[in-house]
Subunit: 641 residues, 2 copies
């Protein structure tokens, strides 16, 4: 596990200690523009400062100052997990600094770390909510206290910082180590035999072990993972499955319970399984992913079917209207999925990551990056009200995107994800590089044997399906390009001094191994023409409906586009599936029928011969762009006429 100085340590969120596949970090991949480049720019210029502003004004960051001044519990503000938002913000800043080298951000980062450092107690304990006179004691409420959860995010922040600015000497890694040492001593083999109600510390500990080489951090992460299912947490109104304490991780068939907790735990369990060589656990997690993706995931990649417990439903229980599909659950799903990808390279994992990024993580923030969806419904029947820009909203309120929430996990989670997005673009093995997500980018790395792999990616994906890889140095390696599962009919073309070679590229990984010369071009042409997607017949809630997708982007009908059809909501529209969707003027158009507005006193009765509905051509909107034009109703799944 010890890192030697000769090894390249990628600036990436997850770095398995074992395995053939290595993610390319920020220093090796740089997104230079395009869809994700624009989002990263907004994230850096608007979202991060918006978040810091709210962390200050809501009092969550000042809580640390009060702690340092001995003025707690008086004046403490925010929920029991508010400390974690500061750590997620720090993590986001760390990635952003790694990406942009912005001195102003560096200054902000150090200033926040200093305030956090001042609040840490002598024995390493760090939490503004517990342990002081007048507060509840430490570790007394593992179900709901979120103390370990907060520390997990602290550890992830420290890891991000150290991977992007090794040896930065700002104190954050030391803060994390002292806290992690305390966790190991309090919750170790001879300590409190329990877990945190919200998984997260496991992830942080596993990465901190990878970073520091400290074996007992991994051992502690493994202990926490294994303790799930021992029932050490109190019974819960919705069952111990809520916090995954109902059965051993390795015994589960699918993710269940609270969807963020479930994904964070599964991600950590992959870390533990890979680094400790626990193949049985890893196989169990792969099975759980398979079942969860096949039966418990929305077409957007979203997860979580219940508002009540923010939880997965049963298999096939995927209501579009009451979809919870929490932004953070998809971020957790990306973490889990990415770790599985690093364990065996299966490109299906990258398919889900792409889907979740375009259709959940990108849906949450507004175009200007300062308002967010916490939950991401797939069907809005009543237009949401504009959110009060000054207020703090409820997490799953019926408003449009809101600037902040009482439980505000999503905004900083979105920010850290976008800031680290470069690290999800490509992986390396001993013989080459795989390009997994498509964006204009520069890739500059070396294989284990020192072979330099350097290329640029030119693309306006997903608007256009053409991905052009321009090799920048002479080298023999295998270039792998992911062909998404929806991309039937893709083609691959290699242009070199030898001429042009073209072939079909079936979904999976299209590989080109050759002695590349600088200037060689590999072009992957992915068909992004709009297509109709039919849900499995067991997803009862969308029976008789289809969705329209274009490339990786899920489309929707939004009522603001229905004026010409003479309706002001989406309740009476049906799709004329005999007319394929077409592209015109940069939008996808479908033909819809509008059902007559008949009203019966009782809505269950004899079938009536429906009159032929009036037909209209209407444009669809990318789901991630919905509700950007004011209050509207919306649906992804369209009833077929």
């Amino acid at each position: 596990m010890t890192m030697t100085s000769t090894t390249t340590i990628p600036a990436a969120p997850a770095l398995p200690a074992r395995g053939e596949i290595r993610p390319l970090g920020q220093g090796e991949v740089r997104i230079t523009g395009g869809f994700w480049g624009r989002r990263q720019q907004v994230n850096g210029s608007a979202t991060l400062s918006h978040i810091e502003g709210r962390l200050e004004s809501e009092g969550w960051l000042p809580n640390f100052d009060l702690a340092a001044a001995g003025k707690l519990p008086e004046g403490r503000r925010g929920r029991e997990f508010s400390d974690s938002e500061i750590y997620k913000y720090l993590e986001g800043l760390a990635w952003e600094i790694g990406r942009t080298d912005d001195p102003a951000l560096e200054e902000r980062f150090r200033a926040v770390v200093a305030r956090v450092a001042a609040a840490q107690e002598a024995d390493g304990y760090l939490n503004t909510m517990f342990g002081r006179e007048g507060q509840d004691p430490r570790w007394a409420n593992l179900e709901w206290g979120h103390e370990l959860y907060c520390l997990g995010h602290l550890f992830q922040a420290a890891v991000a910082r150290e991977r992007t600015r090794p040896g930065a000497d700002d104190g954050l890694l030391e803060i994390a180590r002292r806290a992690a040492d305390l966790v190991c001593s309090v919750f170790g083999p001879d300590g409190i035999r329990s877990i945190c109600g919200h998984a997260e510390v496991e992830l942080g500990l596993a990465e901190l072990a990878r970073l520091t080489g400290e074996e007992r951090y991994l051992a502690q992460a493994a202990l926490f993972v294994e303790r799930h299912g021992e029932g050490s947490l109190a019974e819960h109104e919705w069952g111990r499955s809520y916090y995954q304490d109902d059965m051993a991780v390795r015994d589960a068939e699918a993710l269940r319970g609270h969807a963020v907790r479930a994904n964070y735990l599964a991600a950590a369990a992959v870390d533990v399984a890979v680094d400790s060589g626990d193949d049985e656990l890893l196989a169990a997690l792969r099975r759980q992913w398979d079942r969860t993706v096949a039966r418990r995931t929305y077409i957007t990649g979203g997860q979580g079917s219940h508002h009540q417990d923010e939880a997965f439903g049963d298999d096939w229980e995927l209501p579009p209207d009451r979809a919870y599909s929490e932004t953070c659950a998809s971020i957790g799903s990306i973490m889990f999925t990415w770790r599985l990808l690093l364990s065996d390279g299966d490109p299906r994992y990258a398919d889900l990551i792409e889907r979740s990024l375009y259709n959940v993580v990108e849906t949450s923030p507004s175009a200007d990056g300062t308002a967010f969806y916490y939950a991401n419904t797939l069907h809005e029947r009543v237009p949401g009200a504009p959110a009060d820009p000054e207020a703090t909203s409820l997490r799953a309120s019926s408003s449009l995107r809101a600037p902040w929430f009482e439980v505000s996990c999503c905004p900083p989670n979105v920010a850290r994800t976008f800031a680290s997005l470069d690290a999800y673009v490509a992986t390396a093995t001993s013989d080459g590089v795989r390009l997994l997500q498509y964006a204009p980018a520069e890739v500059r790395t070396r294989l284990d044997d020192g072979t330099p792999v350097e290329f640029d990616v030119e693309t306006s994906y997903p608007d256009n399906g053409l991905v052009r890889v321009v090799v920048r140095t002479d080298a023999e390696f295998t270039l792998g390009l992911r062909v998404p599962s929806w991309a039937q009919g893709a083609t691959l073309r290699v242009q070199s001094a030898d001429g042009v070679e073209e072939r079909d590229a079936v979904p999976g990984i299209a590989e080109v191994r050759r002695a590349f010369s600088a200037g060689d071009v590999v072009e992957l042409d992915l068909p992004v023409a709009p297509r109709i997607s039919v849900p499995d017949s067991r997803i009862d809630a969308v029976r008789g409906c289809v969705a329209v997708e274009r490339g990786p982007v899920v489309l929707a009908v939004e009522s603001v586009d229905l004026a010409d059809a003479g309706v002001d909501d989406v309740s009476r529209i049906v799709l004329d599936a005999s007319v394929p969707p077409v592209e015109r003027d940069g939008r996808v158009w479908v033909r819809i029928g509008v059902l007559p507005e008949d009203e019966s006193a009782w809505p269950y009765g004899q079938a009536t011969d429906a009159a032929s509905p009036a037909l209209f051509d209407v444009p669809l909107v990318a789901y991630h762009e919905w509700a950007e034009r004011g209050p509207s109703t919306m649906r992804i799944f369209l009833p077929v006429m």
Copy 2:
């Protein structure tokens, strides 16, 4: 409003002070057997004693003893509304004593009343949870304290008692009056300008006004009704609509928010509107009922689409799998609907009451009357576990019917409804009697002018659709018989000395006015052959599905009946709608197809040509009988092949 001694005062739950329509009370209608007679018998012999046992063992009744002994708050058990369960139990006992004249029940009733009486404070205040040293102060938490809610149930119990045993002198009416006087003085025009977070006190006050002639009880009920929408309650995580404090009652378009609260408030608002002659309010409530029934009600009559807030959803938001359909919401719906019926006699109201009784209120209790569903899903994907008979269950747990709940409003609510069921069977006007619900029964009453109306009802409805009315005394009056809206093709036959006269009876009220002679027979033949019901296309969650109904009874497929079809759950079955449902061996059979068990890694994709499924004939089960044969999966709405 003053009752004169010459007026018959029916022993019925709701007695409008104004209006042409009078319910026939317990003394005038007696259910003598059949479907509801059997349920009433179980209710009297098993359910009521089961409830009292739990009220004792859970400590909820002993709380009153502790209060009387000055030993509170130590030892108090149960939630803040547990007092109300004792009052609902007393109400149930009162109706049952009225129905059966059982001296043992009379003794139990008086014993419980004595314990309640001992806990009342000098100024009339009565609640075991508030106001003592060490407890929260009185009226300080109107949002959640349920103090007024509890008193509303106390008032209803006192009214039931006085209407069934006038002048019983057990003290209950005096307890209620003292408490009501206190409520009027604390919350009157010059008092606290607020409401209870859970409507109910309005209902109790309105009925207490009718019983006692005390005008200010009605005025106080009206004040509480009118104060809804003033925003006197605190903001709520799910909006003030949760407790109907978001807008004035008369301004709403449909019932909204918590479904029990919404129905209780609407019922009380009808009482207030009728007794105070507020026609505008009454018209608003009729509109709300129309919209709620047309767009927010399940085929079972159930209401409430959300688990999270036990609330109505938006229009058309009626997921069968996540249906909450709380038993108490349907009891509230019956109270609201019954009051509207008494206001104008529209038989559609009786249709909904019948539907709710057969398909929700009857679904809740087990056949033996000692276990209950709190929520009534229309689609169970994963078999529920048997409930622990010793334990207290969570209200919407995934278990089968459970003996008791931490929030146990439903069992006593079911008990008081069944015990008072006779009073929902028929109404009288100045010129005759209408029979609204069908059960073997004796009807013995007098019209306002003294005309004796006496007849027996003979029927095995709903098994058989023939309802036979045998007149027992000579008199001229109008006999009205409700023809449910589903009963297309009903016929009416009058057999008398004049011969036999037969005619078609269209849905609504079939009337026969004549000078009846004892021995005359009126037969209504309602076609109860199984029929297919198609949901409105806007109910997205059941698109492409139909339900099978038989008479007033909604049917379901239950997995325990699918062994011959080779499947152990209901996820892969489709209905062959080309084969009409048939009756055989006392059950309704349908032909279903079983879809192949194919599994795709991603459940949204290209349409595949489905293989023709294997076909099987399977029997349906009455929804109210489901899960009586052990754990199973179930669905009411069947996808059409």
